[in-house]
């Protein structure tokens, strides 16, 4: 389990230049973008799939897809947002493989250990709850997990979720409600 919570992001102004150069086929610029966004992309893939090995494969394929699509990137959205969409799309196409390889390892996808700043008691309580919720998020069916991760962890709109998962907005809302209801029951039982 990695406790490194830092995102080695790229400065926004510098990123624009890197994106511009990468669009023209500059591999070095693209490499810098990959280095800057690899943690973020890997984390998202890991949360969606619940498997570190598959997440690494999905992250790699997402960047390769991004490279191929770079000439079409118009800058309407931030590069990170665009990468998120590609990652979700890639992960979604890999979900069947994820089902077969699912490890449901909490350590892989939801870190609960970084509680150093709290009192031991409080940290213990919080870690326990996060552990429970994290474990149950991983145990959700992929269709529910994807929606709750994208909505509640990444703040996507229902529309964005529906577009990317190729479902209706109503379906996205229903799945979110089901996922939250299940997680709420976990808290209810824990308290």
């Amino acid at each position: 389990m990695s406790n490194d919570m830092t995102l080695r992001g790229v400065e926004p102004s510098g990123e624009e230049e890197l994106v511009r150069r990468a669009c023209l086929g500059d591999e070095q610029a693209f490499s810098a973008l990959v280095r800057g966004h690899q943690n973020d992309v890997f984390t998202l893939a890991n949360r969606l799939l619940g498997n570190r090995d598959l997440a690494a494969d999905v992250a790699q394929e997402s960047f390769i897809r991004a490279w191929k699509a770079m000439p079409n990137f118009r800058g309407d959205a931030k590069f990170s947002t665009w990468m998120h969409r590609i990652t979700v799309n890639t992960a979604w196409t890999w979900r069947e493989r994820a089902k077969r390889k699912a490890t449901y390892s909490l350590d892989d996808a939801f870190d609960i250990a970084d509680e150093h700043q709290l009192t031991p008691e409080r940290a213990g309580e919080r870690a326990e709850l996060r552990s429970l919720i994290g474990a149950h998020m991983l145990a959700l069916p992929a269709s529910l997990r994807a929606v709750v991760v994208l909505k509640d962890v990444y703040g996507w709109s229902h529309q964005e979720i529906a577009d990317e998962l190729d479902i209706t907005i109503s379906a996205a809302k229903v799945r979110l409600h089901r996922a939250r209801a299940r997680l709420r029951r976990v808290l209810e039982e824990a308290s």
Partner: protein
């Protein structure tokens, strides 16, 4: 309990539409069961939201793996297109030269 059902149907309290919020708050303030329910939703929201600040280290070979995979499908395809275009242009030029010579010979 109708309002509690309302909360459950809509998900988090923050997602309940504006008109219902005042009415909901009034009810929650006077209902211990709903207070516990709302508290659980707030906790859930906080816990799930807290995952967003965390990112994880991917395998060390992710970047080299990506960069090594870029050349083949993309640049090789581009190179093939460029090579094909160059070969096509060369053939066209050679054809034009031959035709021009034939035309000149006939004219002579």
């Amino acid at each position: 309990m109708r309002l509690l059902h309302h909360i459950a149907q809509r998900g988090m309290p923050s997602l309940v539409d504006r008109e219902a919020r005042g009415q909901l708050k009034e009810h929650i303030d006077s209902c211990i069961s709903c207070q516990a329910e709302a508290s659980r939703y707030r906790s859930l929201s906080r816990i799930i939201g807290s995952f967003s600040s965390e990112t994880y280290e991917p395998p060390f070979d992710l970047v080299p793996g990506v960069m090594a995979s870029l050349d083949r499908p993309y640049h090789e395809a581009k190179r093939r297109v460029k090579a094909g275009a160059a070969a096509g242009a060369a053939v066209a030029v050679a054809g034009a030269v031959v035709i021009a010579r034939l035309v000149r010979r006939r004219a002579a």
